[in-house]
Symmetry: C2
Subunit: 450 residues, 2 copies
C-alpha cells in the first residue's frame, strides 16, 4: 500500500516526505517492495523530479541502509574526489597518492568501467596482485597506516543504492540529476568525509553533456553534502575529448604512474593539480590553492607522491615495483600505429567513439558481468586543434590480435576527425562551484604580491 | 536491449512504431521482458501519453498475444456492449438477452467486481449452478444455438493484457486513457464484433469521473474499433448515483430479471433501451433507434426477452426457474429497513460509499482473490431530488448478521445525504459519440411523422 500511494503521489508531481523516503527505501532494501513497483516509482521520479529536500532525504535513506566508515577519531580531515566519469580519466590514480602524500587522509571509493567510460578499479587491477575489494575494517586499518585507500564500494555501504542503481540501469532512469546526486552522495557520505571535490565532466563524452545539467548536479550535490557538514567544491572540466593520451586499463595506469613521476601530459596534470589544490585547501594542508599547487609540484619532483603510490599498492597486495618499472603491467599482444589519412587540423577526438573502441577491443563492459582485458586500448598523441600531415602517426592501437587491431583502427577512424578548419574545444576547466555559487574558473586565488 | 530502448524513447516523449509494439508485447507475454522494465515503460507511457496510432498498435499487439473468436461464418452481425463500470449497473443482464431475443448475436465477455464497482460475472454466478468460465469452443457452440453467451475472459483471450493489467494495478498506471482503451478493446475485438456499444460512465462513482476524459476515452475506443471494421457508438451515462435500486450480486440479478419482465426501475430501463437501440441498429435488426425501441418493448411484454434469458441460463448450467421465480436466488440471513434520519431532499446517493458498503458486507472485492457473498447488499428506493420525511424508509440492508446490518446502516448513513435543498444530478444519458463526433444525446432519431 505504501509503495502504491507514493508512486501515485510522485506520478502526479507531489512531494515525498523524509519519513516516507526512509520507509520506501528501507522496505525496498529489505525486499518488501517488488522491483516493478520501484521501477514505476523511479520513472515517475525521473519525469516529475525531486526537490532539494527530497534529494537530501533520499540520500539519507540510502546511506542509512548500510554501514559507514567512522573515521572521526583517525584524522580531523578526510577528503575525497568524485568524477562523473569520462574517457581517459585516470586522475584518481594520480590525485589520491599525491594528496595523501601531503598529509590529507583520502578514503577513496571508486567504480568499474561501464559503457564508454572507464573505471578506476579496473585500471588499478591491471597492477599484478592489486586488490580493491577491501572490507571496511581492512580499509580503515590501511587508512591509519598509509593515509589512503583505493577501494571498491563494499556490500556494507549503501546496499539500497546498489540495488536501485542496477534497477535504474535496466529501466532507463539513470540520467536524472537528483537520482544521480543521491546515488553518488549516499556512497561518498558513507566515507565520513569532511571535504569533497567533484569533477563534473561536460561535453559529448560525458554522462550529462549539457553544461546546465552539470551545474545543476554540482549545486545539488553541494547542498546534500552541506546538509551533512561536508564542504564541497566542484569543477566543471572538459570531456569533449579524452583526458591525457592513454585510454585502456593498463595503459592508463602506466600514464598515471608517469604523471606521479612528473611526466604526465599537460591536460592530465592541469586537471589533477586543480582538483588537488581544492582537496588540500579543504583538508587544511594548504591555506591557498597556490600554496597547494606548489606543494604538489614538490611532492611529485621529490618522489614523495610516487612513494605514496607504492605504499598504497603494497598495502593492497599489488606489486609496488610497477611504480619504478611500468613494464611490470601486462602488455598487449599486438600493437600498431594509426596514421593520419589526410592532412589538416584535428577537428575532433570523439571520446564516446574512443570508449566504444576500447569495448570493441575487449577492454570495457557493456554489462556489469563482462570481464575486461587490461592490456588493450589506445594511446592518442594528438589533440583537437593540432595540425597533422597525411601519414603522420596520430595514435597507437593495443590489441589482442589482428582482428583487434582492425577493430581499433576502425574505432580511431570514426573518432578522430581531420578537417580544413580547427574547431574550438571546450575550456579544460571552465567553472568552479561552491556553496556560494558558480564562477568562471581561475587557477590562482592569491592576490598578487605587493 | 529492445525494452531499454523503448523505455528511453517513451520517457523522452517519442513514438513507438507498430512493429515495436508487437515486439514489446510479444516479448513481455513470452516472459522475455521482466516486470520491472515493463513497469517503467508503463509509467513513461502514462505520463507521456500514446497517440492514436500507438494506441491502435498496442491494442493489436495485445489482441495478437492470444486467440480470438472466429464468428464470421456464424452470423453477419455480432454486437456487444461494454461499460466502464459503476454501482448498481446490471444493464448487461437485461440487455444481452433482450438484444439477442431480437436476432442479433451477442458474444458478451464480462468481468468481476473490484473495488467499489460490481461485475457482471459475480451477479450471474448468484444464479444456482450458473457457470461463466466457458472455453472459446463451448461459447461458440452456445452462440450458434442460443445467439448469446455471458462469459468471463478466458485465458485464451489477450493474455498479455491480463498480465499488463495486473502490473498496472500494482504500479499506479491504471488511469491512462490510451492504456484503458487498448486494454478494453483488445478483449472486445477478440470477440469478432461487427458492432460495439460503449457505456461510458461519468460522475463521482465512475472510473473516470471527468466528462472530458470520458469523451477522450470514447473517441479513442471508437478509433481503435474503426481500424478493425467494428462500428462503435458510445453513450455517456450518469454514475453520480447508483443505477436502478439494487446494489449487491443476487439483488441486482433479481432486479435484472424484473426488468426483463417489464418491471424494472425507470433509470435502468432508460439506459438499457438507449444502449439496446444502438445495438439493434448496429446489428441490422432495426432501421432506426425508434423502431429498435418499439421492438424491445414488444420483446419484453411478450416474454421473449425473459425466455432468451432462460435459454442462456440453462445453456450455462444455471437453474432457469430463476426467471419465473427469483426466490430461487440465495437469500440474505438478515435484512433491515433504513429510515431517513431527518426530513428534506435527497441531495446525494454517493455511489462510491454504497459500493464500499457492499465490500464491508462481504459482497465485493478489494483484491482479485477475495470471494464474494452473493446475498448481501442494498435496495435503495430513493433517488437524488426526492423529498423524504424523517423516519420514512429509504433503503433495505441485506446482510449476513447483525454486525453486517450495522455496517450496512453506517454505509448508507455515509452515502445518502439529506439536505434542505435538492442538488442537480447529472443527466442520465448526456452524450452520444460516433466516429463522426460527439453530440448531445437525443433518444429519438426519427424525423417527426408528416
Amino acid at each position: 500500500m505504501l509503495a502504491h500511494r507514493l508512486i501515485e503521489r510522485k506520478r502526479d508531481g507531489g512531494r515525498i516526505e523524509p519519513g516516507e523516503w526512509r520507509a520506501l527505501i528501507g522496505a525496498y532494501a529489505a525486499g518488501h517492495i517488488p522491483d516493478y513497483q520501484m521501477a514505476a516509482f523511479l520513472m515517475a521520479a525521473y519525469l516529475r523530479g525531486l526537490d532539494r529536500a527530497e534529494t537530501v532525504a533520499l540520500t539519507d535513506a540510502m546511506l542509512a541502509s548500510g554501514a559507514a566508515f567512522d573515521l572521526a577519531a583517525l584524522a580531523p580531515a578526510r577528503v575525497d574526489k568524485h568524477s562523473t566519469g569520462g574517457v581517459g580519466d585516470k586522475v584518481s590514480l594520480v590525485l589520491a597518492p599525491l594528496v595523501a602524500s601531503l598529509g590529507v587522509v583520502v578514503p577513496m571509493m571508486s567504480g568499474r568501467s561501464l559503457g564508454h567510460t572507464g573505471g578506476t578499479l579496473d585500471k588499478l587491477e591491471a597492477i599484478p596482485g592489486m586488490r580493491t575489494d577491501l572490507s571496511l575494517a581492512a580499509a580503515r586499518a590501511q587508512l591509519e597506516r598509509v593515509g589512503c585507500v583505493l577501494m571498491g564500494q563494499t556490500d556494507e555501504i549503501a546496499p539500497a543504492d546498489r540495488r536501485l542503481y542496477a534497477l535504474r540501469d535496466a529501466t532507463a532512469t539513470v540520467e536524472s540529476v537528483p537520482l544521480i546526486a543521491a546515488s553518488i552522495m549516499s556512497k561518498k557520505l558513507a566515507e565520513s568525509l569532511t571535504g569533497l571535490v567533484l569533477d563534473i565532466k561536460r561535453g559529448s563524452g560525458s554522462f550529462l553533456p549539457d553544461l546546465e545539467r552539470g551545474l545543476e548536479l554540482a549545486h545539488t550535490m553541494i547542498a546534500i553534502a552541506a546538509d551533512r557538514g561536508c564542504e564541497t567544491v566542484a569543477l566543471i572540466t572538459a570531456m569533449d575529448r579524452p583526458l591525457g593520451r592513454a585510454v585502456g586499463n593498463a595503459l592508463e595506469t602506466e600514464e598515471a604512474i608517469h604523471a606521479l613521476r612528473g611526466e604526465g601530459p599537460p591536460d592530465l596534470m592541469a586537471v589533477t593539480y586543480a582538483l588537488g589544490a581544492e582537496m588540500l585547501v579543504l583538508g587544511g594542508a594548504a591555506a591557498t590553492r597556490d600554496e597547494a599547487r606548489r606543494r604538489m609540484e614538490v611532492a611529485i619532483s621529490s618522489g614523495r607522491a610516487a612513494e605514496k603510490m607504492q605504499a598504497i599498492i603494497e598495502a593492497q597486495g599489488g606489486n609496488p615495483a610497477v611504480v619504478d618499472d611500468p613494464a611490470v603491467l601486462p602488455q598487449a599482444e599486438a600493437c600498431e600505429l594509426y596514421e593520419a589519412p589526410r592532412s589538416g587540423f584535428v577537428a575532433r577526438v570523439e571520446p564516446r567513439a574512443v570508449g566504444r573502441g576500447v569495448i570493441a577491443l575487449g577492454g570495457g563492459r557493456t554489462r556489469m558481468e563482462d570481464t575486461v582485458d587490461p592490456t588493450v586500448g589506445f594511446v592518442i598523441t594528438v589533440k583537437p586543434g593540432d595540425w597533422v600531415n597525411a601519414g603522420e602517426p596520430l595514435a597507437t592501437v593495443f590489441a589482442r590480435d589482428d582482428a583487434g587491431i582492425a577493430a581499433g583502427r576502425a574505432a580511431l577512424a570514426d573518432a578522430i576527425r581531420i578537417a580544413d578548419e580547427a574547431e574550438h574545444p571546450l575550456p579544460l576547466i571552465s567553472h568552479r562551484i561552491t556553496a556560494a555559487g558558480a564562477t568562471r574558473y581561475e587557477p590562482n586565488d592569491d592576490p598578487p604580491a605587493p
